[in-house]
């Protein structure tokens, strides 16, 4: 789960990472009344998950209540325009009205998981305020990295080492160990897969403050913090994720593509290989769908309807290799799905093997369906039917 800036900064504050004074506002009037009570120079920032707010004109300044009302209304009037990261754009439901910092220098600080060393790794660069991907292309030597031993935990020397290795401006150095300690604390306490402060600002009056916050939480760990369930409800899902959730699938288990061959397989690896098989047979895929283990009749029917009603599929290629998944249950599910669905009917190509496969094939044959023996054969047949 990706967090919005105001949520990330709330977590920052809890672990002692300095953040600018701010107020989260849902309407122009709210923003105006906050600024009326708190005179000063404020920045109004759209709260969205996608990046590129500055370029899109969704970050503006205000010094009076009237200005705050006007810029908030302007920011919220239109959604974030589409960009490469999010081709659908994103509606804006709130803004963060924040203390305007007098920034002298900007740096970058983040923690994430390194798969190879199996440890959390902290990254620091003296180039802040730009995409870290861009920094790693243009100034790869500027990024200092340090793996943290989870048994020992974080100790300040790691922060000092990073500050010196990345040649951070002296103004940052004293504060960096505390900042890194904070993101390490947040990383474990709230189960974050990524915590990124970009930019980490050094103000003209010598304060080191997190000017932005990007936090991605591990979905599998959300149950440990009850409040996150509420946060999750309020966050936007993209269309594919919403469809997946509505069909009882995990949000990562369904993706749509422009083609006409619908697919369903059990297990993400086999589902990807099924897509590849359709491509190898010169077909175009309508979707990725991992039905998961233990697929029952109800689940299969929902998946069938999901593909038939929401993709361009002209044929549905079902590829099940049973481990935990029992072939006879899947077969019953397919038969029942077609018997009970009110959605339109498209031809099915079924490859079913593994646990209880004979029983599964018998059920399908009895219902007048045909099965294929291999994935390649199934893909070829499906592509043929989609083109017919």
């Amino acid at each position: 789960m990706n967090l919005m800036e105001f949520q990330g900064k709330e977590l920052f504050a809890r672990v002692g990472i300095p953040v600018p004074r701010s107020q989260h506002c849902h309407t122009p009037d709210e923003a105006a009344s906050f600024v009326a009570k708190n005179p000063g120079k404020w920045v109004v920032k759209a709260q969205v998950l996608m990046g590129g707010r500055g370029k899109a004109g969704k970050i503006k300044f205000a010094t009076t209540a009237d200005e705050a009302r006007a810029v908030t209304a302007e920011i919220m009037a239109t959604p974030m325009p589409p960009n490469r990261q999010n081709p659908n754009g994103e509606p804006i439901h709130s803004v963060l009205v924040e203390e305007c910092l007098e920034i002298d220098k900007e740096a970058y600080c983040a923690i994430t998981i390194d798969r190879t060393s199996k440890k959390p790794v902290v990254m620091v660069s003296r180039f802040g305020g730009m995409d870290i991907e861009e920094v790693s292309e243009k100034h790869p030597e500027s990024i200092a990295k340090k793996a943290i031993d989870t048994a020992a935990g974080f100790w300040p020397f790691a922060g000092r080492e990073l500050a010196f290795a990345s040649e951070l401006d002296a103004g940052f150095r004293k504060q960096l160990p505390a900042i890194v300690g904070g993101i390490y604390d947040l990383f474990f306490r709230y189960g974050a897969k990524l915590v990124e402060i970009n930019p980490l600002a050094l103000t003209k009056d010598g304060r080191v403050i997190a000017s932005d916050a990007k936090v991605e939480l591990d979905d599998d760990g959300l149950y440990k913090n009850k409040e996150f369930a509420e946060w999750q409800k309020a966050l936007p899902l993209d269309e594919d994720e919403s469809l997946a959730t509505a069909s009882g699938l995990g949000i990562r288990n369904f993706r749509r593509f422009p083609g006409t061959v619908g697919t369903m397989a059990n297990g993400a690896g086999l589902a990807m290989a099924t897509m590849d098989a359709v491509k190898n047979a010169n077909g175009e895929i309508a979707n990725f769908l991992d039905v998961g283990g233990g697929a029952n009749a109800e689940r299969v029917r929902k998946c069938y309807e999901l593909v038939v009603n929401h993709t361009n599929a002209k044929v549905f290629f079902v590829n099940i290799f049973g481990g935990i998944t029992r072939g006879d249950e899947v077969a019953k599910g397919i038969v029942e799905a077609l018997n009970t669905t009110t959605s339109r009917k498209i031809p099915l190509v079924i490859r079913l093997t593994g646990t209880n496969e004979e029983e599964g094939r018998r059920i399908l044959t009895q219902a007048g369906m045909t099965t294929v023996a291999t994935m390649d054969e199934g893909a070829a047949r499906a592509v043929e039917l989609a083109k017919a």
């Binding site: 998981i113 199996k118 599998d220 760990g221 690896g269 086999l270 290799f321």
Partner: protein, 292 residues
């Protein structure tokens, strides 16, 4: 021989009285696995439905049975605890079938359980065909032989193994390492074990997009595995960049972890890469100089 598991390995099941644990214990027993007992806190002293002794703690189970291997079926919030308990009791190999462990739990476990080989989490387990299996793999598709198989995906492993068996290639050991971002046993660990296994003559490696385990494996093969041919397959060639498909691991970003970068790494290491699973037996036959 085989790697990690043979017919004498003494296995316990953590979560033996649960639905999945009980069902798959029966399957493991019928395959010939030496399952010697199970653990369910609060049910110590009882017998499982298979007639096996149930213990309250792993420590008791190990003391009473001399078990060295464990298979974990407990729900995600308790799985890391189960792994730490196994390590504390002296277990040397733990297969964690459970899916959905918080990644931070896994980070802590792998960082603090030296001496215990963890397979998974979120994996189908392992099998040394004709000898024993730990986990949830469908035993009937495997056949004893000389090919080592390593895979990040469960059902894709079955697909490839089924093709191997039908082509006459039996397997020494098949390890489903799991598709999560952090796993206990990676390709390189298995390759190292297969390199030292007399029964294994060649290795099939099924990777997928995301991470750099395949690239690491290619580097290891180039350096240390001259004697044994390796064939690779990479799933997810047609996945769109920046999207995550199912496995938490299968995320591609930039040029890192793409199918192209993995294929290139294997080719540079002299490892033929199959275009599709059905091509694996043919490439294997070519490398071994036999006909299928």
């Amino acid at each position: 021989m085989s790697i990690y598991l043979d017919k004498n390995s003494k296995v316990i099941v953590q979560g033996i009285t649960g639905g999945e644990g009980s069902y798959h214990t029966a399957r493991m027993l019928s395959y010939g696995t030496n399952v010697v007992g199970g653990v369910t806190p609060g049910k110590g002293g009882q017998k499982s439905e298979h007639g096996l002794p149930v213990f309250d703690t792993v420590k008791q189970a190990v003391e009473a049975t001399g078990a060295t291997h464990t298979c974990i079926f407990v729900p995600p919030p308790f799985a890391a605890d189960a792994l730490f308990e196994a390590h504390d009791a002296g277990i040397t190999l733990a297969v964690c079938i459970t899916e959905g462990l918080p990644v931070h739990d896994v980070l802590r476990v792998v960082g603090a359980t030296p001496g215990m080989q963890i397979i998974g989490p979120n994996c189908p387990g392992l099998i040394s065909p004709g000898k024993a299996t730990i986990g949830i793999m469908p035993g009937h598709i495997f056949k004893e032989g000389n090919i080592g198989v390593i895979s990040r995906s469960g059902t894709l492993t079955y697909e490839v193994v089924d093709l191997l068996t039908r082509s006459g290639f039996g397997q020494s050991t098949c390890v489903g390492i799991g598709g999560d971002p952090i796993i206990g046993t990676v390709f390189v660990d298995c390759l190292r074990a297969f390199a030292n296994d007399a029964q294994t003559e060649a290795i099939v490696l099924c990777g997928e997009i995301g991470g750099s385990d395949e690239e690491d494996a290619a580097a290891f093969i180039k350096e240390h595995l001259a004697g044994k041919p390796v064939i690779a397959f990479i799933g997810g060639r047609n996945a769109p960049p920046g999207k995550s498909l199912g496995h938490a691991g299968a995320i591609i970003s930039g040029n890192f972890g793409t199918a192209q970068s993995k294929i290139a790494a294997f080719q540079a290491a002299g490892v033929p890469v199959a275009d599709r699973p059905s091509e694996v037996p043919r490439l294997l036959a070519q490398r071994l100089g036999v006909t299928v």
